[in-house]
């Protein structure tokens, strides 16, 4: 809510159900949809690839935000759950030739089951202990991929069959962008609506004060597991989309660093905000792509920059996290909100 909105006044139930209330909000939504629709015609192939990656990351980040931002359970294992989804989809594509849509759904379900299983420590543990338990889940999942032969065992898994849905083969950068953007949009709508239901409210209650939540009848243990399962289901879908798009799977895309990357997205974007997760995904992936491109451009004039690019990327990434936490712990979502307020009230401060 912004500063001058003093409340939400609805006169009918229909009004109360609306996600977008003002014409400005609807206009903005239309603009975003238009931008997604025309993006393939305006962006270069490189940036279109980046936009696709952002859309995939947004799905995973929204999922992680359900767990970390809304339910308050820290997870350092999102990379592992992405891997679960990706390898589930990869194996179904290779061994069964199932419809990719079914593969994605299956990846979501398997992700949810595995996530729920690794969420079990949440029944006895809180905060720091839980974070370390999820770190273990990440290590265990990565280890399994490297050392068990049916998961490829160190060699990349290749999906030969192109993704074909009802006779339409998804191919080319722009088709993939639209497909994945559609998935991301569905994920965003699902997550937004989740927090208008009792389940979502229960999650937020657990985050804010778990004892009070239990006192008012929230099944804390059950909802914690559910939050883990839901979050991993989103991760599973994101992983499956990566698998079908890249047709090439290795454990290296799902390391502990990836888990950190996703945590960074929701911290930079804003904990406990669906749109924040999307901003964060765009910011982090975009920043990496930008630095990559910058390094490529500087190759001629400053060879030393190109040489040290990995190191510089690490430092900038670390600084981004640290500075956001120190100066704007509520992330880009909060900055966006503040700048809107500033514009609306201009020239007055408040």
């Amino acid at each position: 809510m912004s500063t001058i909105t003093t409340g939400v006044y609805s006169r009918t139930y229909r009004q109360d159900f609306l996600l977008r209330r003002t014409w400005l909000e609807r206009a903005r939504l239309a603009l975003v949809l238009l931008a997604i629709a025309v993006a393939p015609f305006l962006l270069s192939v490189y940036w279109l690839e980046v936009a696709t990656q952002i859309a995939i990351a947004a799905i995973g980040a929204i999922g992680l935000n359900i767990l970390v931002g809304f339910t308050g359970q820290i997870s350092l294992g999102q990379g592992g759950f992405l891997a679960v989804g990706a390898f589930t989809a990869g194996l179904t594509a290779i061994h069964t030739g199932l419809n990719p849509l079914a593969g994605v759904a299956l990846a979501g379900v398997v992700g949810a089951v595995v996530g729920g299983f690794f969420g079990l420590p949440a029944l006895r543990l809180k905060g720091l202990y839980l974070a370390i338990a999820t770190l273990a889940s990440q290590v265990i999942i990565t280890w399994s991929i490297i050392h068990l032969s049916f998961l490829g065992a160190a060699e990349p898994l290749a999906i030969v069959e192109p993704a074909t849905v009802f006779g339409w083969t998804v191919s080319g950068t722009w088709e993939w962008f639209w497909v994945i953007a559609a998935f991301a949009a569905v994920a965003a709508v699902l997550a937004t609506n989740l927090f208008r239901t009792g389940v979502g409210r229960a999650f937020v209650a657990i985050r804010d004060q778990d004892i009070a939540a239990e006192a008012v009848g929230v099944n804390v243990a059950g909802y914690k597991i559910l939050a883990f399962a839901l979050s991993s289901a989103f991760a599973g879908v994101a992983g499956a989309l990566t698998a079908y798009r890249d047709t090439f799977l290795t454990w290296e895309s799902f390391t502990f660093e990836i888990s950190i990357l996703y945590l960074a997205m929701i911290i930079v974007g804003g904990l406990g905000s669906v749109s924040g997760a999307i901003y964060g995904a765009a910011f982090i992936i975009g920043l990496q792509a930008f630095l990559q491109e910058l390094g490529g451009n500087l190759q001629g004039s400053f060879p030393s920059v190109q040489e040290n690019l990995p190191a510089i990327q690490q430092i900038i990434f670390g600084l981004t996290i640290v500075l956001f936490l120190i100066f704007e712990p509520r992330g880009l979502a909060r900055i966006w909100q503040r700048s809107k307020d500033y514009l609306r009230l201009w020239p007055f401060r408040y």
Binding site: I74, P121, L128, I132, H147, S149, I312, Q314, G318, V322
Partner: protein, 306 residues
Amino acid sequence: MDIFVQLTVAGLSDGAILALAALGFVIVYKASGVINFAQGHFLLIGAYVLFAAIVDWGLHWVLGVLVAVLVAVTLGLVVERLVLRPLVGQPVISVIMVTIGLTYILLGIVLLAWGSTPLALPAFIPSDTVGILGAEVGENRLWAIGLVVVALIGFGLFFQRSRQGIAMRAVADDQQAALAMGISVRRVFALAWILAGVSAVGAGMLLANLTSVSLDLASFGLLVFPVVILGGLDSVLGVVVGGALIGLLRQYSAFYLDRELSEIRIGGIAENGITGTAELVPYVALVLILLVKPYGLFGQHRIERV
């Protein structure tokens, strides 16, 4: 029997180094309740600074160690003052993430200064082999165990006898009461980070001496988590026991478990046998301990509803 002795010595020396690194972690956690994910990267800094001092600047190794300790003190102070202090009172996730952010900055600095190729540290601890119970073991491993024991006794004396050490224990016990007694909690926090830096850098130097100076030292540092969870997050005794247990578990599983499992053929799942269990076992132990005894072997039990 030979192999068993060798594995035990290797495991104990690994464990001793882990215990030293984990000690700094526990000190910070006890004093300020911060989980320091950057402990592994402090290890890295220690090893690389020692390398720079000895090889690049040609200093004697005693001076090199002094330089590394000095860097550790500065690092601890700077991190506490600039990064952790603004976040006092913030949620757990912020504090965890800020130390993770720190790991990237430290890693980037190491990459900038020394690149990613492993470097060989000239041996400054004798590395001949000696016979124990008929087995040949590296002398440097025995030295590592001995030095860590000395360091742990030093830390123990500091906490038992010195004014600052007792102040730190007071803060760990009850921050409000310590404040009321006129103890500067800020100084205790700073001191905790300095000690964390020094212990990690010490561990890094010993580890670099056993293996090589490389970025893998940081992933070895990640093993402090199984150690502290096994021993109990806030227990100094637990660090020693947990370190030894994890060190031994790793070495034994690298040999015995791999030997057994690499013979197993499970059609479709593990056609070529299973190897590399040493990477997995510490974390499986971690999960089991968390499920069975969440506060570790020696950790303080807190009664809270989850």
